[in-house]
Amino acid sequence: MVAQNIAFGIISGIVVFSALRMVTTRNIVHSALFLVAVLAGLSGQYVLLAAEFVATTQVLVYIGAVMVLFLFGIMLTKAPIGKSMEMTGTQWPIAAGVALMLGAVILYSLIDQFGSDRLTEGGKIYRTADVGDEVFSTYIIPFEAISVLLLAALIGAIVLARKD
């Protein structure tokens, strides 16, 4: 368990640092690349939690597809590439206060509620086949619904973005 704790510490350090840089950097492309670092780190955390399929999907869908979409969005909206002073609004101190207060409340309730609960060791590990079985039996209706949602989002995005 020591090795896992060390891995957790290193990955969380990278993730939190990248997330902070992502919301503070002045360069929007750097911001997107820091988001890639956050997503990759979270994929590592899923591996630590023995969720191999979620980790793979995270890499394929987020880093592979969503980030490309974001980079296209940045290019097509002609955001100023390079340093720009105008990335953060004047209300940022209020935003920071809101985020800090929210964080304090969540952290207090988490520590109060879960204190030092340990993760189950040597428990059942669910592999990709188990996830597939569950999706196609218990969660078959939500799965179909999400398929329709993705199709609707695809058509909606094309209708919205196309030039008449």
């Binding site: 896992q4 704790n5 957790f8 993730v15 997330a19 902070l20 992502m22 919301v23 929007i28 911001s31 997503l39 979270l42 955390q45 899923y46 939690l49 023995a50 969720a51 979620v54 869908v61 987020y62 597809a65 969503v66 974001f70 969005g73 097509l76 909206t77 002609k78 955001a79 105008e86 953060t88 609004g89 940022w92 920071a96 809101v98 985020a99 800090l100 929210l102 964080g103 969540i106 952290l107 520590i111 879960f114 204190g115 609960d117 340990r118 993760l119 189950t120 428990g123 669910y126 569950e134 969660y139 999400i146 949602l149 993705l150 989002a153 695809l154 909606g156 995005a157 919205l160 973005a161």
Partner: protein
């Protein structure tokens, strides 16, 4: 490993995402911060699934990933449309409904 390690990491990321949504001016940056918040929720799902030895946590995380992908597709299309109409994606410029 403690359960709280993962929950606190998720909470910290969620708060950073909230800050990004509120403080950033660029609409694409706001969408990216929303992705950060969705990911913070995902790590809670997987951690609780591991803790209680159920597979539903992973299934819910997968559903959230799918919904996030749909959301970002439509969101970026809307941002593109806003840019075409106003030649700006600064969220402070969109105040047509301000009283």
């Amino acid at each position: 490993m403690l359960l709280n390690q993962f929950l606190i990491l998720g909470a910290v990321l969620f708060c950073i995402g909230v800050y990004g949504v509120l403080a950033r001016k660029n609409a694409v940056m706001v969408l990216m911060s929303i992705e950060l918040m969705l990911n913070a929720v995902n790590i809670n799902m997987v951690a609780f699934g591991f803790q209680h030895e159920v597979v539903s946590g992973q299934v819910f995380a997968l559903f959230i990933i799918a919904v996030a992908a749909a959301e970002v597709g439509v969101g970026l299309a809307i941002v593109l449309l806003l840019y075409r109409n106003q030649t700006s994606i600064d969220v402070e410029d969109f105040d047509l409904m301000k009283g």
